[in-house]
């Protein structure tokens, strides 16, 4: 008798706790899941795309994801230390790509570009990374450091301002048109890797990313400065009590993130062969999505998130949307990316690898 009353009470409380919002969220989840399943099934049954096509999408996704991951590192590292989203980071990426364009055309004009491709690529990378680092440090000094003790919303607004400032400064300096990147002759066409044809530019992007990521990971995990970075991101005050100069570590963090973004700018330009003053916006937002997807503040998470996002974006439109009968699904790849951002924010705000932030920093 008593047991049934208790059971009834529990059942009622469970039912009462189910709010309209919960219902909506479950509905949303179910709808997205249904769309994915139905679309995928329909596409695969139609057999419109051969295995090779899927492979191409896959590799494109990985190379695109590599670029996102490189940019995402900057977001995630800065967030890890300052709990702030550096919204100017996409424009730092653009600055890298833009100066790389000038370096590339100069080398091209001098006739060195295609005579020494690896050396030219190295020079371009160094120029791009150096520029990106300088811009990032300037932004940090002017727009963020004076606001370190301000409420968190304030540096965020400042970041958006810095983003516009950089975009329109570049527009004013170099014009609003697209600039065509010179192409490396050696990177035209495909390489054959284990019987699979891979576009050379994409292979370069993937290899370069793997090298940079490994270097960065070793830096953060194995060096004294890297350990200090992790210490500062955990507890800034105690880090300073250990004699760590927190401001210097913050500067190094911005520099490392910007260097990765600068390199990403060069790789992006290799694939898309043009630069533009606004080119940092979408990759910036996508990389931010990737960082959130992987768990913001978490470095392996940013790498993983970037890769995932690149893959979803490249495979998703054909796999899911095409089967649903949507015309020109590829134009909707941004919809997929941002639907993912919304889904992650609703259902797993801590991301793939992140832990619950509430418990850690409350």
């Amino acid at each position: 008798m008593a047991a049934t009353i208790v059971a009834a009470r529990i059942r009622r409380s469970w039912f009462q706790r189910l709010s309209v919002i919960d219902l909506f969220l479950w509905g949303f989840r179910a709808a997205v899941l249904a769309a994915v399943v139905v679309g995928t099934f329909a596409t695969l049954r139609s057999g419109r795309y051969a295995g090779e096509v899927w492979l191409d999408f896959l590799i494109f996704g990985i190379s695109q994801g590599s670029v996102y991951a490189l940019i995402a590192l900057g977001y995630t590292m800065v967030y890890g230390i300052l709990r702030m989203i550096n919204f100017a980071h996409g424009d730092i990426f653009m600055c890298g790509a833009y100066t790389a364009f000038y370096a590339a055309t100069a080398l091209h004009r001098a006739g060195l570009f295609n005579r020494y491709p690896p050396l030219s690529l190295a020079v371009i990378l160094v120029v791009a990374m150096a520029t990106a680092v300088s811009v990032a440090l300037l932004v940090e000094r002017v727009a963020y450091r004076p606001l370190r003790r301000a409420p968190r919303l304030v540096p965020l607004i400042s970041a958006i301002g810095a983003s516009f400032f950089i975009e329109y400064a570049v527009r004013g300096l170099y014009g609003s048109g697209f600039q065509a990147y010179p192409e490396f002759e050696v990177f035209k066409g495909k390489w054959n890797v284990f019987g699979v044809g891979i576009l050379r530019t994409q292979a370069v992007v993937i290899v370069a990313t793997v090298i940079l990521m490994t270097l960065l990971y070793l830096f953060v995990m194995r060096t004294r400065t890297g350990t200090a970075m992790r210490a500062v991101s955990e507890d800034m005050e105690v880090a300073s009590l250990m004699g760590i100069n927190v401001d210097r570590i913050i500067v190094i963090t911005f520099a490392v993130g910007a260097a990765a973004a600068g390199a990403a700018g060069v790789l992006y330009a290799l694939v898309f062969k043009q630069v533009h003053f606004f080119m940092g916006f979408y990759p910036g937002i996508k990389a931010f999505t990737a960082a959130v997807l992987g768990g913001i503040g978490n470095i392996p998470g940013a790498m993983l998130g970037g890769l995932f996002l690149g893959l979803f974006e490249s495979v998703g439109p054909i796999l899911v949307l095409d089967g649903l009968g949507i015309v020109a699904p590829y134009q909707l790849k941004d919809v997929i990316a941002f639907t993912m951002l919304v889904m992650v924010l609703i259902f797993r705000p801590s991301g793939i690898l992140g832990e619950r932030l509430a418990g850690k920093k409350a």
């Binding site: 992790r230 210490a231 005050e237 105690v238 300073s240 250990m242 004699g243």
Partner: protein
């Protein structure tokens, strides 16, 4: 001459006057304790010495050298290091990495290795767990790590903020024994404690803080005998 001297220190949190002219000194080789109720300003005093808070007025000197204007990381370099309240070890770093962060200001590799060995003899537990992530240690082990980490910078003065907080009675005794041991090896200690009984037991001198002011000071024996101290902090 006193090693660490604090003279007429005034600190504000916004409008709140938290320290109203604290004056104290610590002689070389001493253990000095600051006791007092919650909110009396004990932690604030340590934070100000460490450079985390800026005094509006007053001087802090180490062997005559002014510390009050230095940022926190330079105070450590001068030889004053703090074990903060609540341990606050780096939970996601390994035990070994935590200790290396304690030695962050030091460039010489060999000296750091020697001190690492010394900390491991002081706390054998930490040696067993050196490659373990520090967040998985027990409370007592975390306190050992926090103290070991501070020792890695070779401090002249060790500031301890509530080292016994949240520990089981057995561990409390062990921690106080360790502090005495560290002191005997030549490190001067300024100890902030709620556990006045234990603190006065190991200290040579003490100060009693009340709402931002020094209410009483004297040798540990005098304070233990003082009727007011007995009533307020020693449970009769």
């Amino acid at each position: 001459m006193a090693l660490l001297e604090v003279d007429n220190l005034h600190v504000y949190y916004g409008q709140i006057h938290a320290l109203k002219g604290i004056t104290l000194h610590v002689d070389p080789g001493e253990i000095v304790t600051l006791i007092g109720a919650n909110g009396a300003g004990k932690s604030t005093t340590l934070k100000t010495i460490s450079g985390l808070l800026r005094p509006q007025q007053g001087r802090i000197t180490l062997s005559g050298e002014d510390l009050a204007a230095l940022p926190a990381h330079d105070v450590v370099a001068k030889g004053v290091v703090q074990v903060p309240e609540g341990r606050r070890i780096f939970g996601q770093l390994t035990v070994h990495e935590n200790l290396l962060m304690g030695a962050y200001i030091r460039a010489e590799r060999n000296g750091v290795e020697t001190d690492l060995a010394r900390v491991f003899t002081l706390f054998p537990r930490l040696k067993e767990r050196r490659s373990q992530v520090a967040g998985t240690l027990s409370g007592g082990e975390q306190q050992m790590l926090a103290i070991g980490r501070a020792l890695m910078s070779q401090p002249k003065v060790l500031l301890l903020d509530e080292p016994s907080m949240g520990l089981a009675p057995v561990l409390v005794e062990q921690i106080f024994e360790t502090i005495t041991g560290i002191n005997r090896l030549g490190t001067t200690v300024l100890l902030v404690e709620q556990n006045a009984y234990m603190a006065l037991h190991i200290a040579q001198r003490g100060y009693v803080l009340q709402t931002g002011e020094i209410a009483l000071s004297g040798s540990a024996a005098e304070l233990q005998a003082n009727a007011e101290v007995r009533k307020a902090y020693l449970g009769g």
